[in-house]
Amino acid sequence: MSDPAEFTHTSALLAQWAGGDKRALDDLLSHLYRDIHAIATRQLRSERGLTIRPTALVHEVYLRLKGLNELRWNDRAHFLSMAARVTRQALVDEARRRRADKRSGGAQVTLNDENLGGTDTAFDALHVDDLLNELKGFDEVAAEVVSLRVFGGLSVEEVAEVLAVSVATVHRRWASGKTWLAHELLPPA
């Protein structure tokens, strides 16, 4: 999002995608990816030791995109779900890069989310990603629900809409998925 031409381009892509052009999605994702990655690295650079809150990150991008144009952007849930995926990928990539980069002292990329109920510690992004991949192996819906809630800040209702399942299902899978994740992340009692 460095110059006006790019703003216009992104908004055109949003319009195309909203209008049903599935190819626009790929382009849009790569744009979003760059934005989110840039914001994430900026935050991590400027505030050493501070953790990323993916939800806040996604909302920042969302607000910026909304301001780009006059486009009526009703499809908030779908946008957020897309942004959640991109955010997760961007954080994982950045974490891998840092792990490889000796100069940054192998600093972790950590994340923190109020949705990870009652926990106040920050978690290693790579660890969270691995665990969600494992969970996906035995409860795909739960893994999706947790990923959308934690990385995109979607509400239960929004998750239900995106995944086309009932709100009750989201509640149950959120409870079980989150519990499982928390069990793996928390130090043993």
Partner: protein
């Protein structure tokens, strides 16, 4: 692979167990795990985490709570615990039966945590008092007990569901919901008569039994516990109640830690009504206790009818809420306890009036309250405006900017608050509870960073900076400055970098400026700037400090230097590219206002146009910054006599403002007034007169006769009314004259003799007299007015030009062409 397989099995059994009824869960898990003890432990641990999480977040489905298995079946006092039926901040609730042979099932709340001997005595005394409450809609307290390690409360067991679930399950309409609510209000009113306050009214504390009888549970228990909770020295019990609150249902005074009264329950009932009637929580957007605190103490919630509409409620519900119910609910939810219904009984009476179709009492009171609040806020903003001694119209723009700065500050305070909250929770176990006020949080933060960061002075300094900024945004300037003092001291004594020091000084300057201490702010900001130097990597910090200094200077007559500073900041922001776009737009907007006040309208217009076009790209439609920049631009277009450009923008602003703030909101009226003046310039006099008359009348009514916006609007009306149409007829001129004379009289008694606003009124009155051919009366008004306005406000000033044009017409029509042509050289077009 083996490990993975085991984890998968544990997860599958656990998630299946969540679907099993709570009472049968333990057996189910035991059977599934058979002899595999590691697996059994793993599953039980998962269930424990889920239960703890449900207790903390409450977001598991009702009835899906998992009981700590070891308590079921054990005894407590003379009761045996059966299944766990709920959990809350204070402990778990079980269905329990008496062990002394009396067949009675109760709801037994087991309280964790130890209680002091004195606290125990008070708890028991309070409980006896509570046990006297008798009402069909109050679950009776049956017995209480305290031991060394735990206390317990036995209550009437209500077999029912939450009132919200009940209403939804039975698809109750508005009136049915209100009738149910009225029974709850009646119960609260009856308790109040016995001097018991519930203080925690919320959907989970109001159950509806199978027979449709609502029951309030946990009555007064919060109070009993808070008394029992202190360490026995009595200090807390005497003056300061323990702060327990539930987001979306706690009153502002609870959140602020102020005394709790019956008005607190009125608020709780209002919040419950809000939830039941429109399906959403009041301040529903606020997530988490801290954001709720900020929201509930900052302003009124959305109108229930609007919230219902936004929540997709059907049209009948929305229409049914609009008007009386909106007013009733908002009156119960008023931020200031004295503005709420004085008693629960009064609230009940209004609900009954509504149900029986009589006029409710809430309607007038609510409107007057909102207005009163507005006028107070506006009075503060006007003090600043007066210092600008700006033109009337640009003053309106300045006011709008004040408002949006408040909005932006609230938003970022909330964000920082979240961060602080997180920090405190992780560093201090005492803050794990949900019952803290913002002030307590911030004050606690100061101590807590001492403990956790005391060995790391620079880290402490950085946190103090955050605390200073947050306090500043909450208007707690004294506390903000105290934190800022300590921050600067630490930075200076522990080798803080020049950049850290400069940032701290900039914040301090902002803090001082926000308080109106412009003279003190100026040297602080200058020092920040000299520390920053012109290092290219800190350009954004430098631009921020420059803009701050500029704002301080415009308030102390240093417009010239302020302009240079704004321009430097703008150059830096421009070089910074896209990330600085919003900052750039904001500073350009500041500069445009300054230029407009200096009468440099062309430059002001070009600057405002750029600010607007930048912000339009960078901000969502409806953002207050954007609205403000659009208004600056529209006004600057008007100042350069381009009403055709200004008109559509002002129309748009007036419409959006009406939609967002309401048609009678003074900001909307000021925008309408500006639109009216634009229409006058465009020669659309009929429309102009109508709009100006209406906005002037309403502004006067709202803000008082002497208010400058009100008098300004009347002058605008007078100008429109006395303009002749193409045939030269001005039928409304007498009415215009009356308005101008009214303003002149008001200003004569409220402003000093040489104030230019008085000459502006005389100029317009003179114009009207000229149009009515009353030249002898007009001349003695116009001559001094034109001279005074030209010397104080400049020749090109709008009001100066009005007086000059009137004078030219006077001379031309009264046979003095030479004087008329002399005047003509001073007229712009």
């Amino acid at each position: 692979m083996n490990v993975h397989g085991a984890r998968e099995r544990a997860y599958r059994i656990f998630s299946a167990a969540l679907e099993v009824a709570p009472g049968a869960r333990a057996d189910y898990v035991a059977a599934e795990c058979s002899t595999d003890q590691a697996l059994h432990r793993h599953v039980l641990r998962l269930l424990e985490i889920a239960a703890a999480d449900a207790a903390a977040t409450g977001d598991l489905l009702h009835g899906n709570l998992v009981s700590p298995p070891e308590r079921e079946g054990t005894e407590c006092g003379h009761f045996r615990l059966r299944e766990c039926i709920g959990a809350g901040g204070m402990g778990a609730v079980y269905r329990a039966e008496r062990t002394d042979g009396v067949p009675q099932a109760v709801a037994l709340k087991v309280l964790s945590g130890s209680i002091s001997a004195e606290g125990r005595a008070r708890f028991l005394a309070e409980a006896k008092f509570l046990a006297r409450l008798e009402h069909p809609a109050i679950a009776r307290l049956i017995d209480v007990g305290v031991g060394d390690r735990e206390g317990w409360i036995a209550m009437e067991l209500v077999r029912g569901v939450r009132i919200t679930d009940y209403c939804d399950a039975h698809a109750l309409d508005l009136r049915a919901r209100l009738r149910l609510l009225e029974q709850v209000i009646d119960a609260v009113a009856s308790a109040h008569r016995q001097l018991v306050v519930h203080r925690d009214i919320k959907p989970s504390n109001v159950l509806v039994a199978d027979d449709g009888q609502p029951k309030l549970i946990d009555f007064g228990i919060a109070a009993a516990l808070s008394d029992a909770d202190d360490d026995g020295n009595g200090a807390k019990a005497a003056g300061e109640p323990r702060r327990l609150f539930t987001p979306h249902y706690a009153a502002p005074e609870q959140v602020r830690g102020e005394p709790i009264t019956v008005a607190t329950d009125v608020f709780g009932l209002g919040a419950l009504a809000y939830r039941l009637l429109c399906g959403a929580d009041p301040y529903g957007q606020a997530r988490g206790p801290l954001t709720y605190m900020l929201a509930v103490t900052a302003g009124a919630p959305e109108l229930p009818s609007c919230a219902a509409q936004a929540g997709g409620r059907d049209r009948r519900t929305v229409a049914g809420l609009r008007g009386d119910l909106d007013a009733i609910v908002l009156k119960a939810l008023a931020g200031d306890p004295s503005q709420r219904y004085a008693t629960a009984q009064d609230l009940q009476a209004d609900c009954r009036r509504f149900l029986t179709g009589r006029p409710v009492q809430a309607r007038l009171g609510g409107a007057a309250y909102r207005l009163g609040k507005f006028v107070r806020r506006r009075a503060a903003a006007l003090a600043v405006v007066a210092l600008f001694s700006a033109g009337l119209l640009t003053a309106g723009v300045t006011y709008l900017r004040q408002q949006r700065q408040i909005a932006v500050a609230n938003e970022s305070a909330a964000r920082r608050g979240e961060f602080l909250e997180r920090l405190l929770k992780s560093s201090d176990p005492r803050y794990g509870r949900r019952d803290i006020t913002v002030a307590e949080l911030l004050d606690g933060a100061v101590t807590s960073i001492d403990e956790s960061l005391g060995h790391e002075p620079l880290g402490e300094a950085s946190m103090l900076g955050l605390i200073a900024d947050t306090n500043s945004e909450l208007g707690r300037y004294r506390e903000g400055l105290a934190a800022s003092d300590r921050q600067l001291e630490l930075l200076q004594h522990h080798g803080g970098s020049a950049l850290e020091l400069a940032r701290a000084l900039t914040s301090r300057g902002e803090l001082l400026r926000a308080q109106g201490h412009y003279a003190e702010a100026t040297p602080v900001l200058r020092r920040a700037l000299s520390l920053l130097g012109d290092r290219p990597d800190v350009a954004a910090d430098r631009a921020t400090a420059l803009t701050e200094l500029g704002m301080a200077l415009t308030n102390t007559g240093g417009e010239r230097e302020a302009e240079a500073l704004y321009r430097e900041a703008i150059a830096l922001d421009r070089a910074g590219g896209a990330p600085q776009r919003i900052l750039l737009g904001g500073t350009l907007d500041d500069l445009a206002v300054l230029l407009g006040n200096e009468g440099r309208y062309l430059e002001s217009r070009d600057t405002a146009r750029e600010a607007f076009s930048l912000l339009r790209q960078a901000l969502p439609a409806g953002n207050p910054d954007l609205l403000s920049a659009e208004q600056t631009y529209a006004m600057s277009a008007l100042n350069v006599h381009d009403p055709a450009a200004a008109e559509p923008m002002l129309r748009d602003i007036a419409q959006r403002s009406a939609a967002i703030r309401g048609a009678a909101h003074p900001d909307t009226l000021v925008a309408q007034e500006q639109l009216g003046e634009t229409l006058t310039d465009l020669g659309r006099l009929g429309e102009a007169q109508q709009i100006l008359r209406q906005s002037a009348t309403t502004l006067e009514h709202t803000l008082g006769q002497e208010n400058r916006y009100a008098t300004g609007a009347w002058l605008g009306f007078a100008v429109a009314a006395c303009q002749g149409d193409t045939a030269g007829a001005a039928p409304a001129a007498p009415e215009g004259l009356a308005a101008a004379q009214h303003v002149a009289a008001v200003r004569a008694r409220s402003l000093p003799a040489q104030d230019w606003h008085r000459f502006a009124a005389d100029g317009v009155a003179g114009l009207c007299l000229v149009q009515l051919h009353r030249y002898a009366e007009a001349e003695p008004l116009l001559v001094p007015a034109a001279a005074a306005l030209e010397s104080t406000r400049g020749r090109h000033f709008y009001q100066t030009q009005i007086a000059l044009k009137a004078l030219r017409a006077l001379y031309a029509r009264s046979g003095r062409p030479l004087q008329a042509s002399q005047i003509a050289t001073r007229i712009d077009d």
